[in-house]
Symmetry: C2
Subunit: 117 residues, 2 copies
């Protein structure tokens, strides 16, 4: 589990256990966040809204930078982190919009009365 | 706050409030994680341990992928996420090791009996 020369010092083992607990919490929060953005994607596709919203994203960046500063986290890192997550979200949303458009096209082909594609 | 055409639909506003809450939690957890890795960096520099530990990192990746799968998060994304965080941590550790080496050199110059640089 470790390539360190010799046994893992107790203080290092203790810190690593805390890091592992934090990482488990981060993974679960990220899973929850993507469940929410997945719903946003479906909603945007249904309402024909654009996948990205620059005004909303600018507000998120400003808010996260301020929260990071309060929490003693590098605001530049917080901004990079949000960009990293949003990249993934946009990819999900584009895939949802594409699925939705395809489903709409298929439905229209089957039944001309179904308008929304 | 939003560039959407027209007012933000209530369902979208509700989801965005949840995303904002999750993001605040993520920022605070990340701040806590960097506090722990900062301590790891100081400890490694003090004990002359290498900044990176490939065995530990492989174990972290395997664990996070498994946790992600259970939580319905894309394991590939979880792995990319850990790599993104670890990149930042390694940069912090290298900076700490450099500061530590400089402090050690200065101390050695001032007092030849102080061995550890």
């Amino acid at each position: 589990m470790s390539d360190l020369p010799g046994p893992v010092p107790p203080d290092l083992a203790r810190l690593r256990r805390s890091i592992d607990n934090i990482d488990a919490a981060l993974v679960h929060l990220l899973a929850e966040r993507f469940k929410a953005t997945q719903q946003v994607g479906v909603l945007k596709a249904r309402l024909d809204l654009p996948p990205s919203d620059p005004g909303r994203e600018a507000a998120q960046v400003a808010r996260l930078r301020a929260l990071a500063q309060e929490a003693d986290l590098d605001p530049v890192f917080a901004e990079k982190f949000l960009a990293f997550i949003v990249d993934e979200v946009i990819r999900h949303h584009e895939a949802i919009a594409q699925d939705h458009a395809q489903a709409g096209t298929q439905a229209t082909a089957q039944d001309a009365s179904v308008g929304h594609a």
